[in-house]
Every structure is written in C-alpha cells, then in structure tokens.
C-alpha cells in the first residue's frame, strides 16, 4: 500500500519534472568561449556561440548567403557611404529599444585601436546617425564587402555600455576587467542565464526576439569537453545532445550507435601548401622553387587520393581550386585536382636542374590531422628524390617563423572566414605583402598583374563582374602553381537521435535557432 503510493507519487513527480527538462539542448564543445564579450578575442568559434545572444546588422542564412538581421535594407548612397535602414521594434534583453545610436556605439567600440576585432572591419571609417532607425557608414574606398564584414560586428545597447563603463573594449594590457566580459545584453534569440567558465554556460530562450522562432529550444547548456575520448563517451552515454567536434577516427563508431546521428560535410577550409619565393632558402642555398617547373613537380609528386584515403579516412574532399565551392568567386573550371605523376615530377625536376634539393617544411597543429598530412606529403616528396626536413610545432610556435618569412615550404588552411568571399584569400594570402594586404603571404610572392586584378575586384560594385575578377585572380594563382591545394577538411557534428532537425553549416558554426528537437 505504502510502497505503491510512493511509486505513484514518484511517477507523478517525474511527470511533473519532465516538461522542465524537455527543450534543453546540451552542447558539448571542444573548448569554452573565453568571454561573453564578442569584441574580446578574434575567434570564429566564440563569435559563433555569442551569435545566439548578440546579433549583427546582417547575418548568414541557411545557404551562407547574406540576409537582413538588425538592418532591413541597405543602399550605397555615394562611393564611400552606405545607408542602412534598421529594423523597428527590436528589443535588447534588458528591454531597451534598438536604435541607430546603438549601432554607432558598437561600431565605435569594435573599431577602437585596442579592439581585437578591428581587423574584421578594415574599410570602416566612421558613421552618422540620420534618424532613430537610419545610419550611414563611411568606408575608406568603394567596398562591396561591407555587409560580409558586418556579420561579425554584433550590436550592443549604447545605454548599457555607458552605464557600465564598457564603451571601450577591455584592454588586457591595462590590468582592469570589463563589465561585458561577465555580462550579456544583446538582441539575439537566447539570453545568457549563467556562466561558469570552463564548466557551463547556460542560455535561455528570449521571448521578445524580433524574428520568427523556428526552434523549439528553451535552454542551451554549453559545456566544453576538451578531451575527444570523453566527448565521444558523453555523447554515447547521452550526457550531451550535440557536439560540433566529432573526432574523425570515431565517426564509424558513432554512426554505428542507434542513439547517435552523425552529420558529415566538408568544411569551407581549404588546406594548401605554400612556397617561399625569396632568392635564398633558409639554408642559404639558392631557391629552386622560384622556378615554375619545380613547383609543378612538387605538386605532381603529391598523391591526393592516397592522403584522402589513408590520412583523412575518405572524409575530405580533394581540391583543385584554392577556395571551397560554396565561396563566391569559386570557379568549377579551376577545381580539377591534379593527378599524381611521380615520373613526370622527376623529369621536371631534372629539367629545372633542381634534383634532390633540401628544404624545410614548416608544419603546425591546427588543421585536421595536420601532422599526418605533413608526414605523408614529405614522404611523397622524398619518393621523387627531394629532401624535405619536417619542422613540426604548435601554432603558437610556428606562426612567428611564418610571419617573419622564415619558411621554405609551409601548410596553410584558409576558410575565408568571416568574410566568406574569395577576396579574403586573394587579398590576405596571395597579394604582395604591403600595408593591410598579404599578411599571410608568408612565401613573399609578388606579381603586379595579380595585385591589379585583386585590387580592382575590391572596389567593383557589380557582383557578376567582381566574381569574374576573383576567378581571374584564382586562375593566375593556379597557372603559377603558387600554392598546392590539397583538400577541404572534413566537418563532422554528431547529435543524439532525439534531435529532429539540425542544419549543418560548412563554416563549422552551429546555429541553434534553426534546430528542432
């Protein structure tokens, strides 16, 4: 009698408890966001997470095309001025109304000399409030990519920034903390309920969101789980519902579990190999890689199929072009992967008189299976008689050598984030290193014709003409075998079976406001 009553009571309690937990999505990420302040650390992952609470004037839609968010429309009023019409009736999480003042204060904060996000809006010069819901933004030149840049400039509430003395970004050098590091006040679909760094950040649904709610999530719990084995175990045990970093080697096992769904795709990030174009190699010897035939030979020596099969377990996509198919400016005609031909490679090397030269191969650790890729490529080069010396290290160790130009051959992964346009690659990786151009042109390549086409594409406002110009830049790069494209990295997310609809994004940023549980 008593026992049954307790049981019934227990079941009733359980039934009561159930609705509270339904609608909670537990997200197990591979790392934590460093701060709640979107202008704190130039990091795509953190910006992606914070996009659930903060929004920009524009955003990417399901197909990674620009769509209106806090702005409803925009027009170019003079070559260097853009006018944005802002959405009316938008509320911040603290109840304040969204106006043009907020946009101005946010742009000022993002472009502050101490802001780590300043590089995301290179062309920004200033802004003018026209009325409560209209703002004009000045750019330094014709610049068609301003909306792309604005996708990561999230909008703060001007009054909130002022009240909390957070109008300038936090400067770690100064030693004083910032209010926005711990507190959040955006316009997004979710608001931050609590945060314990490295343990749990809880987002709850914001009922006053301006957009049509497509998701049915009440609560998001973001938990970083750094160890891949632990993350996989947590997913199999049902302790988390979703991870945006399912380890490639565990995919077959995850897919075999009836409780887990694996979402696979290819990332936008293209992995490539670059060459030094300086007169001398690090060893002091003359640089044979200035000869096109040598670069071509090195490309012919690499067996992409073998890398795909053995190193990437068939999950990568062999590439012929330097950008992924989703990126504007991509040209399918350029995207034929080069077939391996070691004999021809040897012949070319002989012709160029560069047989068996020695060089350093600088490799980091930030790409998927980068170490193994480098080892495989190095042994393929050895097979045609070259003598690569592998220099492997962490990203923090290798990057200073690279940006100082102390490399012979190096790896690079480029996703064109956050701009999602070929211009990101052509201007920053392939353009001559000068001013804000060519920061990642570690090989020191310089070609007047290429620079001219690239610069012209930056100010061309006609989309069709601009994309043709970008394809032209990529063609020049391919003809010169400037960089060897290897593949687009695999992208794997995994969810528990209870999640019904989870759109996969190839920029590797989950957008949970589009998820149905």
């Amino acid at each position: 009698m008593h026992l049954s009553r307790i049981l019934v009571g227990g079941v009733a309690l359980l039934a009561l408890a159930m609705p509270a937990t339904a609608g909670t999505l537990k997200w197990g990420a591979s790392r934590d966001i460093s701060s709640l302040d979107p202008y704190s650390y130039g990091d795509s992952f953190a910006l992606g997470v914070l996009n659930h609470a903060y929004e920009g004037l524009v955003r990417y839609d399901r197909n990674l095309k620009i769509e209106p968010a806090l702005a409803t429309s925009w027009e170019i009023v003079s070559p260097t001025t853009w006018r944005f019409k802002l959405r009316e009736g938008v509320k911040f999480h603290n109840g304040a109304d969204f106006t043009a003042e907020d946009v101005q204060a946010s742009l000022k904060r993002a472009s502050d000399p101490k802001s780590p996000l300043r590089g995301n809006i290179p062309a920004y010069k200033g802004s003018r409030v026209i009325d409560a819901h209209t703002i004009e933004i000045d750019v330094s030149a014709h610049y068609p990519l301003l909306p792309n840049d604005l996708t990561t400039i999230y909008i703060f509430d001007a009054g909130w920034l002022k009240d909390n003395n957070a109008e300038a970004p936090t400067d770690v050098g100064s030693g004083s903390e910032g209010y926005a590091t711990y507190n959040e006040n955006g316009t997004g679909p979710f608001k931050v309920e609590s945060r314990q760094p490295d343990a749990k950040t809880v987002f709850t649904k914001f009922d006053g969101w301006w957009d049509k709610t497509e998701h049915n999530i009440d609560r998001i719990e973001l938990t970083p789980i750094a160890s891949p084995a632990t993350r996989v175990a947590a997913l199999l045990a049902g302790d988390i519902d979703f991870t945006d970093q399912a380890p490639v080697q565990d995919l077959p096992r995850l897919a075999a579990s009836p409780e887990v769904k694996v979402l696979e795709g290819t990332d936008l990030r293209t992995v490539m190999i670059g060459f030094s174009q300086r007169d001398q190699l690090l060893s002091g010897a003359a640089n044979p890689m200035k000869d096109l035939r040598v670069r071509q030979a090195m490309q012919l020596a690499i067996d992409l199929d073998l890398i795909n099969k053995k190193v990437m377990r068939g999950k990568s996509r062999n590439a012929g072009a330097l950008v992924a198919p989703q990126i504007p400016g991509y040209d399918a005609a350029l995207d034929t992967p080069v077939k391996a031909d070691p004999e021809k490679a040897k012949a070319l090397l002989k012709e160029a008189g560069a047989e068996g030269f020695e060089f350093e191969f600088n490799c980091a650790d930030s790409l998927v299976n980068e170490e193994q890729i480098c080892q495989a490529v190095a042994s393929m080069w050895s097979r045609v008689g070259l003598k690569p010396k592998l220099d492997q290290g962490t990203r923090a160790v290798q990057t200073p050598k690279r940006s100082a130009g102390k490399v012979d051959v190096y790896t690079l992964g480029w996703a064109t984030l956050p701009m999602l346009d070929t211009y990101s690659l052509t201007s920053q990786v392939l353009h001559t290193k000068e001013g804000s151009f060519g920061i990642f042109n570690w090989g020191g390549w310089s070609d007047k014709e290429f620079d001219k086409v690239t610069e012209a594409s930056a100010v061309e406002l006609d989309q069709t003409k601009r994309l043709a110009m970008e394809a032209q830049s990529l063609k020049i790069a391919k003809e010169h075998a400037l960089m060897i494209p290897l593949h687009q990295q695999p992208l794997a997310w995994a969810t528990t079976a209870k999640i019904k609809d989870f759109p996969l994004f190839s920029d590797n940023l989950p957008r949970l406001w589009l998820v149905k549980m």
């Binding site: 632990t230 993350r231 990057t399 200073p400």
Partner: protein, 321 residues
C-alpha cells in the same frame, strides 16, 4: 624556534622566486601569444602594437622582474585569453581542485589502509599475494588511461555515473562546492577514483611494510600470548603503530595530487586549476601560467614547511639545523 621559522619562510620565498624564474625562461619557447590573441585579419602594425603594449618586446629578465614586482604587490594582471583577473580565475577553480584532491586522499586512505593490513596478515596466501601483485598495475597504469577506462565502464556501458564535469554546484560565499548536491557527489566519484589509484597502492604498500615489521615486535607477541583477540590486535594495536609514516606521506602527497590533478582534470573536464593551466599553455596565456606555477609551488612549499615544523616540534635536535 623563531630563527628556524624565519629560515624556513625565507627558503620558501626563494623556491617560489626560482620557480617563477625558470617559468619565464621557458615561456619564450611556447610561442608567440600575440598570434593567438589577434584576429586573422589583423595587420602587422596592430600585432606589433599589441606586442609592445603587453611588454613582450622586453627581455625575459625585465619581464620576470616586472612580474615579481607586481606579484609582490598582489598584482598578477589579467588573463590574456579570458580578460579576467588571474587571481579571481584561479580562485574560482581552486575549490574544484581542492575537493577533488581531498576526496581522492580520503579514498586512498579508506581503501589503501585496509588493503595494506589484509595483505600483511595474509602474507603468503594466494589472495594477499594476488592483491600485492595487482597493485603493480595501479602504479604502472597512466592516469589518463585509467580515467578513460573508468568512463567507458561506468559512464558509457553501465550509465551509473557521469563521465565529465562537476554536476550542480552550491555557492558558499566564494567557495563553490559540488559535495552538497546528488549530481555533484556522483560527478566526483570517477575523477577522484582515477586520481587516487596511484595513491591507494602507495598507502597499501606502505601499510603492508610497516605492519609486517610491527607484527614481529615483542609487544604483539606478548599481546597474543595474553589472549588479545586477533582483530583487536591487528586493527587496534598494530595498525595504530604504523600510521605515523602514513600521515606524513599523505600530507606530503597532497601537493603532488594537486599537481597530478592536471591530467585527471583534462580527461574528466573537471573545471579546476589544472584545466585552466592546460588551456593557458595552449593559448600562451603567460599571466595565468605564471600565477598558477607560483601558487602550486607555494602549496608545495607550505606543506613541506609545515611538515618540517612539525618534525622540529617533535624532535628538538632538528631545530639547530
């Protein structure tokens, strides 16, 4: 006695200064923090500006002296990655690590001592020798491996215990505890077990060796002749006499456990100081690494100093030393 104390404290400060010195010597080989901090599209000028603002262009001696001067005034600066006060950051993580270490210590004593007694009194029997042999496994298995095996067994296959995190925590002032909630208590079991495995074997072997010696002592023989019950003999009279070295060992090992917790915390995503340090290493977050190393060496030094003082109190001959 006062001279002794002054000397010990002086030693302690010297040790910490040395640790920080070597730390700064090593930091230069971890890479460039600026590359980790700035956005991909930052220009060279912006990078150089940030570098000089953080004082990274100075030699390591200048950086070291600046750190020591600031640290002496209680200023450890802001974490470059989290933009938070380093002391607050470490303070938030300390309770997690401390609770883990305390529970692991209790586990090691609660399991290690009885096992030690059993293997001593059953010496030569198959089960005692079997235990003794299998304890080698406990010493030789790396703790990240033990952690993953525990997760696989108890979290994935059996589904009894959570495999990561700390569960729900309760805030008691600045101290956050997971020991007051059911989910917090469940979450601590696996990491504490994984951390204590090495310690359990250590305690067990020490108790066994001490017991074997004491069981040969005259007073045991007399007690046995007098007809004292065997259980009372083992667990009251003999065990009491071999606990002194166990207590010393445990006190000294707490420091080790805090340092070793780093691996366990990474495997179990335990939000403690070790986890923070691991991330700081990846991101070349020098303020956090420097403060962590100083704090851990401080804990080591303090524990050792207390043990030394306790010995000096017991043994007057050491006071002159």
């Amino acid at each position: 006695m006062i001279a002794f104390l002054v000397k010990r404290v002086g030693n302690a400060i010297l040790v910490m200064l040395t640790v920080a010195f070597f730390a700064f010597l090593i930091f230069r080989f971890l890479g460039d923090p600026v590359e980790m901090m700035v956005n991909e599209s930052a220009t060279q000028v912006e990078r150089d500006e940030l570098r000089s603002r953080l004082g990274l262009n100075d030699g390591f001696l200048v950086q070291y002296l600046r750190f020591v001067t600031n640290a002496a005034q209680g200023q450890f600066g802001l974490s470059w990655r989290n933009q938070q006060n380093v002391i607050t950051l470490i303070g938030e993580r300390f309770p997690a690590t401390f609770e883990l270490v305390i529970i692991a210590t209790i586990l090691s004593l609660a399991i290690g001592i009885p096992l030690g007694v059993f293997t001593a009194i059953g010496r030569g029997r198959w089960w005692a020798e079997g235990l003794q042999f299998s304890s080698i496994v406990g010493v030789s298995l790396p703790s990240f491996f033990v952690g993953i095996i525990l997760i696989l067994a108890f979290s994935v296959s059996l589904g009894w215990l959570p495999g990561y995190g700390r569960g729900e925590v309760v805030q008691l002032g600045w101290w956050s505890t997971g020991l007051l909630t059911p989910s917090g208590r469940a979450a601590i079991v696996l990491p504490a077990l994984s951390l204590s495995l090495f310690q359990i074997t250590l305690v067990m072997r020490l108790v066994r060796a001490e017991m074997l010696e004491i069981l040969r002592a005259d007073f045991i023989k007399f007690a046995r002749a007098r007809g004292v019950k065997r259980r009372a003999l083992w667990f009251r009279h003999a065990l009491k006499n071999c606990l002194m070295p166990v207590v010393t060992l445990t006190a000294m090992q707490v420091g080790n456990l805090i340092a070793f917790a780093l691996v366990t915390e990474t495997v179990f995503q335990w939000p403690g100081m070790g986890m923070l340090f691991m991330q700081a290493v990846t991101f070349v977050d020098i303020p956090v690494m420097a403060a962590y190393l100083c704090i851990v060496s401080f804990i080591f030094v303090t524990l050792n100093t207390f043990v030394d003082i306790a010995y000096a109190v017991i043994d007057p001959r050491l006071r002159a030393a």
